[in-house]
Every structure is written in structure tokens, then in C-alpha cells.
């Protein structure tokens, strides 16, 4: 709709998103009062059917929500609204239209319960983001956007193959071609799939989700895309798109993960550990704030990989804690990333640079903004009472139950993260003021309000996690019951 709104497109997008968000939160509060896990709010419609010579093809469009996906839909609406809010006035209707399309794809991806449409939404998110980076980005934006697209598209092609394989095996069992997620991930069906075929399926899924997350060897699109995207785009990428990978791991893949070989679980944990340490070190050596925050965000997402891996090994309450910790981390990360990148965006608007060495002593000129930035960084390194802590803490303590002292590597990663954030903060927030920057104006009321709401969310998530944790635990223990 925003494509047509002309000059008013920003307002139109914001208002429609706000209405949607409020409506959806009210709806889910109503639906999820007595949530016990599993899929609720199920809606299904048969789009096309073919029936001849002993075969049936069903193409359904079905939507459904679990405790986890409900929260993901809310944060995807929220992050879209926020990204639109951060867009500058100079951008036209097209810009906001692309964001609305990406937000639509995100929300659709989390709701949909059919693999054909899962794949469609998966790609629908990519294309607007590709255009956002390629058209409105900075630096070497065309190359970065193409790199981003190629990486994720290769992942999605393997995802496609896995989906095909799954539905083919399903056909062998039942004589019906269907792409319903519920049918295709039923354990009673998957146990009949030959081992080689099953390994191929999980390879495709894992590849797509780990590229998106991003995990260690598949991450090289990340710094370029984050760096060259406009700030709104970076917020969308870090808050919305990486959640797709997390959802894929914990929402799509985990229900079938009971059949995984144990070696694969160790391999995934290893990837997660390497990711944490490698990304933290990479962040340490960046001279550009945006790049540093990008690596920091990737290091945070590695907790989800670890949560997924360790949950495969553990049982009972530990697993529930592990899973819900991982899910909570996705949601918390959205808020933290939004806070950091929004503050950086406001900083960039004032100083026209994001190089650490060009800044310095900003606390003197911009006390309010730099406080927000500092809180965002602290949240990212997992300071208690801020959103990041809950997820990281749950993952770390439950990881200890499964992998024992190797948990120290996670702690090491956390230490490095703390080191680079504090080092960076020391450099550009405190210390001597770089006089070349001239007089800077602190944030105005409107910007303050934006940041304040995010901060309120972050603190709320950190201080009173029960509200969301209850939903996630219910879903996670339901998953535990399945396996």
C-alpha cells in the first residue's frame, strides 16, 4: 500500500503497521491465555487439487501459530515498524513499500504451515532487502547486495530440494503429494524415511538456516551487507532476517531433530562455539562501529546454534530451558540490535562517520545518545537486567549440563565481547573529544522517545521475562513431549 502513498508513505506505513501490531498483540493475548504448547489458531484453505491415476496433489494455504511463532510475528511487525520509523524523509514511497513487503514476508513466514508457501515467503523477504541494500545503501552497495542475495539464495535452493525430498517420501508412504509442515514433520512419517535421504534433507535445511543465522563458515555476506545497507536496512537485517534462521532451527528443524545422529549435534555445537569466538575476535579488530556491531550481533546469534545443538543432547527440564533460552535470545536480540543500530544511525546523522578513530569523547557533546548507545552495548554483552542476559544465561547454564566444561568457550566468547564493547566505548564515548567534529546537537524529543521505547522493551524483557518465557516454555516442553 505504501507504494502508492507518495509523500505520505511513511505515515501510512507507520499507521497501518501500528494498527496491525496492536490488533495482533490483542488477538494473541486473547488466543494464548491458556497456552499449553502446540499449534493453535489454525486456518487452512485448499487452493488447488489434482486427482488422477492413483495420485493426489494438494496445494494448501495454511496458517497457524505456536507460542514461539506468535512472538516472532509480533517482533517482525515491531521491527518493520521501527525500521520504517528510522527511515529518513528523503526516501520515497518505494523505500517504505519495500520495507512493508519485507515485513509482510517475515510475518507470513512465521505464520505459514505449508512448505510451499514457507519457501515463497522465505524468498519474498530476500528480494525487498536486496533492493533496499542495492538501491539505498552506501559504499560498495551493489556488490554487497548481490553477495547477500547469492549466499542466501543458494541456501534456499537447497532448502527447496529438501522440501521436495520430504514430500516425495511422504508420497511414497501415503500416495498424496502435500507440502503441509505438520504432515511432513510428523515423526511417525520421518522414521520411515531412509537414512541417506533423511541426511540429505537435514543437510539442505541446516545449510539454509545456518547461512541465514549466520553461522561460522557461511557468514561472509554478513559484514558487507550490514555495513553497506542503510541503517533501516541494517535494523531489518539484524532484527528480522536473522530471526528467520533461528526460527528455522528451533521451530522447523527441532521437532524432527530427535532423529539426528549425535555426531551432528556435536558438530553444530562446535560451529556455535567457533562462531562465538571468531565473531567476537573479528569484532575486536574492526575500526568501523557498524561493522563491529554487525559482528557482535552475529556472535549473539551463535547462542541459538549452541542452544539447538545442546538441546539435541539433553533431556527433560534442561532441554526445555535450553530451547526456551534460545528462543528468548532471538526475541531479545531483535530489541538489542534495534537499540544499537538506531543509536548508531542517529550518531551517524550527526557526525557523518562511523569510524572509531574519527570519533572520541562523544559523552561530552551527546550525553543522552551516548548513554543509549552504551546501554545497547551492555545489553548485547549480556548484562543482567537487560534483555540479552536471560537468553544467554539460560543457554549457558543448560549447555553446562550437556557439554560440561566446554561451556568455558562460551564464557571466553562473552569475555571477548565485553572486551571489545568496553574498548570501543572507552575510545569513542569517553576519552578526549575529537574537536574536528565541531559542535554536535544531542537528540531531540522525537528521537528520544523512539530510543526510550526500545530501551523500555529491553529492560522489560530483562527484568520481567516470565510473560514471554511462559509461552516459550510451554511450547518447548510440548516439543520435548514429542520426542
Amino acid at each position: 500500500m505504501s507504494f502508492f502513498a507518495g509523500n505520505q508513505s511513511k505515515t501510512v506505513s507507520l499507521v497501518s503497521l501500528a494498527i496491525l501490531t496492536v490488533f495482533f498483540i490483542a488477538y494473541s493475548a486473547f488466543e494464548f491465555r491458556n497456552y499449553t504448547g502446540g499449534v493453535i489458531a489454525y486456518y487452512n484453505t485448499l487452493l488447488a487439487q489434482f486427482h488422477a491415476s492413483g495420485i493426489t496433489i494438494n496445494i494448501d494455504f495454511s496458517l497457524g501459530l505456536t507460542g514461539f511463532t506468535d512472538l516472532l510475528v509480533i517482533i517482525s511487525l515491531f521491527i518493520t515498524m521501527f525500521a520504517v520509523l528510522m527511515g529518513s524523509k528523503s526516501h520515497g514511497a518505494y523505500f517504505y513499500g519495500l520495507f512493508m513487503a519485507a515485513g509482510f514476508g517475515l510475518a507470513g513466514l512465521f505464520m505459514v504451515r505449508n512448505f510451499l508457501f514457507f519457501y515463497i515467503f522465505w524468498e519474498v523477504v530476500l528480494i525487498p532487502v536486496f533492493f533496499i541494500i542495492g538501491k539505498y545503501g552506501t559504499g560498495n552497495r551493489e556488490r554487497s547486495s548481490l553477495k547477500f542475495f547469492i549466499y542466501t539464495h543458494i541456501g534456499s535452493l537447497f532448502l527447496l530440494l529438501s522440501i521436495f525430498t520430504l514430500s516425495t517420501y511422504y508420497f511414497l508412504n501415503t500416495g498424496i503429494f502435500t507440502f503441509q509442515i505438520g504432515d511432513l514433520t510428523a515423526l511417525s512419517f520421518l522414521e520411515t524415511v531412509p537414512t541417506a535421504g533423511f541426511y540429505f534433507i537435514i543437510f539442505g535445511f541446516l545449510l539454509a538456516f545456518l547461512i541465514k543465522l549466520p553461522s561460522f563458515p557461511l557468514h561472509s555476506w554478513l559484514p558487507d551487507a550490514y555495513n553497506d545497507a542503510p541503517y533501516s536496512g541494517t535494523i531489518m537485517l539484524s532484527g528480522g532476517l536473522v530471526a528467520m534462521g533461528g526460527y528455522g532451527l528451533l521451530g522447523i528443524l527441532y521437532p524432527i531433530a530427535g532423529l539426528f545422529p549425535r555426531a551432528l549435534a556435536y558438530f553444530i555445537i562446535l560451529l556455535g562455539l567457533i562462531s562465538i569466538i571468531y565473531f567476537s575476535f573479528s569484532a575486536l579488530f574492526q575500526t568501523d562501529l557498524k561493522r563491529m556491531a554487525a559482528y557482535g550481533s552475529a556472535a549473539e546469534m551463535a547462542f541459538i546454534t549452541i542452544a539447538f545443538g545442546t538441546a539435541l543432547l539433553s533431556t527433560g527440564y534442561v532441554r526445555t530451558l535450553d530451547l526456551s533460552g534460545g528462543m528468548y535470545q532471538i526475541i531479545a536480540h531483535t530489541f538489542v540490535a534495534a537499540l544499537i543500530f538506531a543509536s548508531l544511525s542517529m550518531l551517524y546523522r550527526r557526525t557523518q562517520t562511523s569510524k572509531i578513530y574519527d570519533l572520541g569523547g562523544l559523552n561530552r557533546e551527546l550525553p543522552v545518545l551516548s548513554s543509549f548507545l552504551l546501554i545497547g552495548m551492555l545489553a548485547s554483552l549480556g548484562l543482567p537486567s537487560l534483555a540479552g542476559f536471560i537468553g544467554e544465561f539460560s543457554v549457558t547454564i543448560s549447555a553446562f549440563q550437556s557439554i560440561g566444561l566446554y561451556t568455558l568457550f562460551i564464557v571466553l566468547g562473552l569475555i571477548i565481547t565485553a572486551a571489545f564493547y568496553i574498548w570501543a566505548a572507552q575510545r569513542f564515548l569517553f576519552g578526549y573529544f575529537n574537536e574536528r567534529l565541531g559542535r554536535l546537537k544531542d537528540i531531540n524529543k522525537q528521537e528520544f522517545l523512539i530510543l526510550f521505547f526500545i530501551l523500555a522493551g529491553t529492560i522489560f524483557l530483562g527484568v520481567y521475562p516470565t510473560l514471554l518465557f511462559k509461552l516459550l516454555t510451554a511450547y518447548a516442553s510440548h516439543l520435548g513431549g514429542l520426542i
Binding site: A48, G54, I120, G134, L146, S167, T168
Partner: protein, 471 residues
């Protein structure tokens, strides 16, 4: 009266002569083009609503054939309005030729007799030689000459192929050949396959027979290139589809290997060559070759024998494959003809990739829908090309041809590079290019982009096609 079934054919033929006669009095492109368009629409609806499943003369009309006939009519309809801008004069002959080509194409769709197929195919070819050279510029004439020379070689191969087919089966009629179960392995049938593939392969632009295509698409007027790469190609494609499905019984596994190898070579060549090209029309030409590679995967599937490892019966995956070929054909017309027609937006004779810079600034809807069609060629969801590819790969997988599907998917990933390159260029801001925003071209591109989008959600059409995909 038995001829009531031939109303569409009679209408097309008569209208062609009427157009020629009208040329004595007028050379108005609006009158002539409008008349042609109306005639095609009328023929379209006659074919759509007339009774199916009967045979008359040597024509054998089923839902399958009617679908292809409709596709061919659409492939002509889409170029009628854009050609008003490309063609300089003598519109009467131009539109009359288009009508005669349409007539030949419809006959080719309905017939199962190799002689009639050959004659109607030549009718299409001869018409297109003239169309390619229509503006008589040096580029046009050169393109037409190349096309003509190569195509006559193709024609002789076709004749040889048909002769060898007759030698092995003692019949020109494909339906009869299909019914003849006791055919068995026959060396001359192998030769027939090779010759026929080469002959029609020139038109489809399969790998070793593709050289003419790039130069001809580059040199012909834009709407003629659009027609050559869609309608002209699809006729040969459909003939080969019929020929392989009916003329070769499934035990002939060499059909499979032959086409699997050809498909791999064709798509890989097309995609790799397009990566290094800077001339926009040539990129589209190479992409047309790559698309031919995907499309002939269907032939490979048709030839694939039934092994115990195959998941479903041969009938099922062949039916899916043919249905995706039919869906591919309709999506292909819009997504391929659209970009070629969009080349008319650029005012230079030789369209380089730099020439399209700034298109989005000039008209963002045109740029958007051009992007939609290119995305469709790349196989991105919510476009017609996606569903066609999705089900094509799906039928490969249920036919147990994993490796072929993986190769095709990797190719489709490579192709993204050059399609996106075009999109990126069209969205670049800098550049002072001037575009020719004639409404005929602009709205053609937009409408074709919209149809491509609409096909992207036409799951029901696919399942309908799976129902009628019986040759």
C-alpha cells in the same frame, strides 16, 4: 458440416488475405494492427470454446493441442502492439505475415502427421525469415541471412529425420507409431532421433545448434526477437515433445541420456556465456538458450525408463513433466517477450547494459515490472517462472533424477548473477539516458509483468494442466 471445427483456421487465413488487400488502400498501423489483434482474439475464443477430442482431415484435436494452439496465439498477440513502434513501414505485409504464421502454428499444434507438421513448421520459419529482415537495415539483413542459412540446414536435417522415422515405423502418423508396440530397438530410429533433434534443435537453440540465435536476436527488430525467442521456439519445442512422447517407446533409454547431456550443456553454456556479456539483447539471447536447457529437461524425463528405484510410476512423473512444460511455455512467453520488448525503450540500435541505467528514474513502474519478469526468468517465487521451475524440478526428483535436478538448480543460481545485474543497472540513479516511453511499449511491459505475477499464484492452472497433460 464437418468444417465447423476449422472456423479458427479459416478465420486466420482469410484475415491474412484481407490484411494484404487492405494494404492497397491504407498503411495505417492502428487499423491494420487493431484488425489483426481482434482476429487473433476471435480465433482464441473460438478455439477455447469449441468442442475437444475429435479428428478431422489429418488434425487431431484434444485439450492438450488446444492449449498449445492458444499459447501460440498469445505469443503473437503480445508482439502486435509493440511492433507498431519497431516497424517503419508496410504494416499490411507485416501483420498479414503474423496472421499466416499464426495459422501455421495452430495447424502444427493440432496435427500428428509428420508431413503436415513439417509443412506447417516451414510456414512458421519462412514467415520469420521475412520478419527478421523487415526493416532492411544492414543489421537486420545480416541477422536474417544468418538465420536463413542455418535454418535451411535445419530443414534438411528435419527431412532426413522424418525419412528415417518412416523407414523404421512405416508410417508418418505419430499416433499410429505410438500404437505400434512391437517396434523394438532400431538403428534407423536412433538416426531419426538424432536428425530430428538437430533439425528442431536449431529453432529451440539447443547447445551445439545455438550460434545463430544470439546474432539473430541481437540484429532483428525488438518485437521480432521477442517473437523468435518465444513463439518460434515453442513451436519447435512442442513438435519435439509430441515426437519424442509418441514416436519413441519408453524403453529407449538413449533418449534420456541424449537429452540429459544436451540439457546440461545447453543451460551451462547459456548461463556462463551470459555472465560475460555486456550487450543487453545478447544477454537475453543467452538467457533464452539457458531457458531452453531447462525446458529440454522435460525431454530427458520423457525418455527416462522405469527402474525399481523410481518412486512413482513413469506415467506420473512424465505427466507432471509435461504439465510443467506446458506451464513453462505460458510463463515463458510473458517473461521472455517482455524484456525483449522493453529493449525498445532504449533509443539506440545496439542496446548495451549501460543504456538501461536510470530507467527507474524515468518510469518506476516499467522498471519494476521489467524486474519482475527478470526475476521470473531467474525463478524467484511469486512469479510464473517459479512455479514452472518448481514443478519441473519436482518431477525430476520424483523421477529419481536427483543429480539432474541439482545441476539445474546450481545453474539457476548462476543465472541470478546476470539477471540481477540488469536489475541493478536499471535502478542506478546516475546517467542521462533518454528513453522512448511510447505507451505501446511501456504498457505492454507493465501488463506482461502483471501477468507474470498473476501466473505466480496460479496453482490451480498447474493442477488443471496436470489433468490434460496427455498427448
Amino acid at each position: 458440416m464437418i468444417y465447423e471445427y476449422l472456423y479458427a483456421l479459416i478465420l486466420l487465413g482469410l484475415a491474412g488475405f484481407i490484411t494484404l488487400a487492405a494494404g492497397i488502400k491504407t498503411d495505417s498501423k492502428r487499423i491494420l494492427g487493431g484488425f489483426t489483434f481482434v482476429v487473433l482474439i476471435a480465433a482464441f475464443f473460438i478455439l477455447l470454446f469449441q468442442e475437444k477430442n475429435y479428428s478431422i482431415l489429418s488434425l487431431n484435436i484434444s485439450s492438450f493441442d488446444t492449449y498449445w494452439a492458444l499459447i501460440f496465439l498469445i505469443s503473437i498477440m503480445v508482439v502486435i502492439i509493440p511492433s507498431m513502434n519497431d516497424i517503419k513501414k508496410r504494416f499490411d505485409v507485416y501483420y498479414a505475415l503474423l496472421l499466416f504464421i499464426a495459422l501455421s502454428m495452430v495447424i502444427a499444434a493440432f496435427t500428428y502427421n509428420l508431413i503436415v507438421l513439417f509443412v506447417s513448421f516451414e510456414g512458421v520459419s519462412i514467415g520469420t525469415y521475412v520478419l527478421t529482415a523487415y526493416n532492411k537495415t544492414k543489421r537486420n539483413l545480416e541477422a536474417s541471412l544468418k538465420y536463413f542459412m542455418i535454418s535451411t540446414i535445419g530443414t534438411s536435417f528435419n527431412i532426413m529425420g522424418i525419412a528415417f522415422f518412416y523407414l523404421s515405423t512405416r508410417t508418418f502418423n505419430l499416433n499410429v507409431a505410438a500404437a505400434d508396440i512391437g517396434l523394438g530397438f532400431n538403428r534407423s530410429l536412433l538416426l531419426a532421433l538424432a536428425f530430428i533433434t538437430i533439425g528442431f534443435g536449431f529453432k529451440i537453440a539447443i547447445f551445439p545448434m545455438q550460434q545463430w540465435a544470439i546474432d539473430t536476436y541481437d540484429g532483428a527488430p525488438n518485437s521480432v526477437s521477442a517473437f523468435l525467442s518465444t513463439g518460434g521456439k515453442l513451436v519447435a519445442y512442442m513438435i519435439l515433445l509430441k515426437f519424442l512422447f509418441l514416436g519413441f517407446i519408453p524403453d529407449y533409454n538413449y533418449v534420456f541420456f541424449f537429452f540429459a547431456i544436451l540439457a546440461i550443456l545447453t543451460m551451462t553454456y547459456g548461463n556462463l556465456a551470459a555472465l560475460m556479456e555486456n550487450n543487453l539483447k545478447r544477454i537475453l539471447g543467452y538467457s533464452s538458450i539457458a531457458q531452453a536447457g531447462y525446458m529440454i529437461l522435460v525431454f530427458a524425463l520423457i525418455g527416462y525408463s522405469y527402474y525399481p528405484a523410481v518412486l512413482v510410476s513413469r506415467e506420473v512423473f512424465v505427466r507432471f513433466a509435461i504439465a510443467s512444460a506446458m506451464f513453462y511455455a505460458i510463463a515463458y512467453i510473458f517473461m521472455k517477450a517482455g524484456p525483449f520488448i522493453a529493449m525498445s525503450l532504449v533509443k539506440s540500435d545496439k542496446v548495451m547494459i549501460d543504456d538501461i541505467v536510470g530507467l527507474s528514474k524515468k518510469s518506476r513502474w516499467t522498471a519494476l515490472f521489467l524486474a519482475v519478469m527478470l526475476l521470473s526468468l531467474a525463478g524467484v517465487p511469486l512469479t510464473g517462472g517459479f512455479i514452472a521451475k518448481y514443478f519441473l524440478f519436482f518431477s525430476l526428483i520424483i523421477g529419481n533424477l536427483w543429480w539432474l535436478a541439482v545441476i539445474a538448480i546450481i545453474n539457476s543460481a548462476i543465472s541470478i548473477f546476470y539477471y540481477f545485474r540488469i536489475i541493478i543497472y536499471s535502478y542506478r540513479k546516475e546517467g542521462e539516458n533518454d528513453f522512448n516511453m511510447a505507451p505501446g511499449i511501456k504498457y505492454s511491459v507493465i501488463i506482461m509483468g502483471l501477468i507474470t505475477l498473476a501466473l505466480g499464484v496460479s496453482f490451480a492452472l498447474y493442477t488443471y494442466l496436470a489433468g490434460i497433460a496427455i498427448i
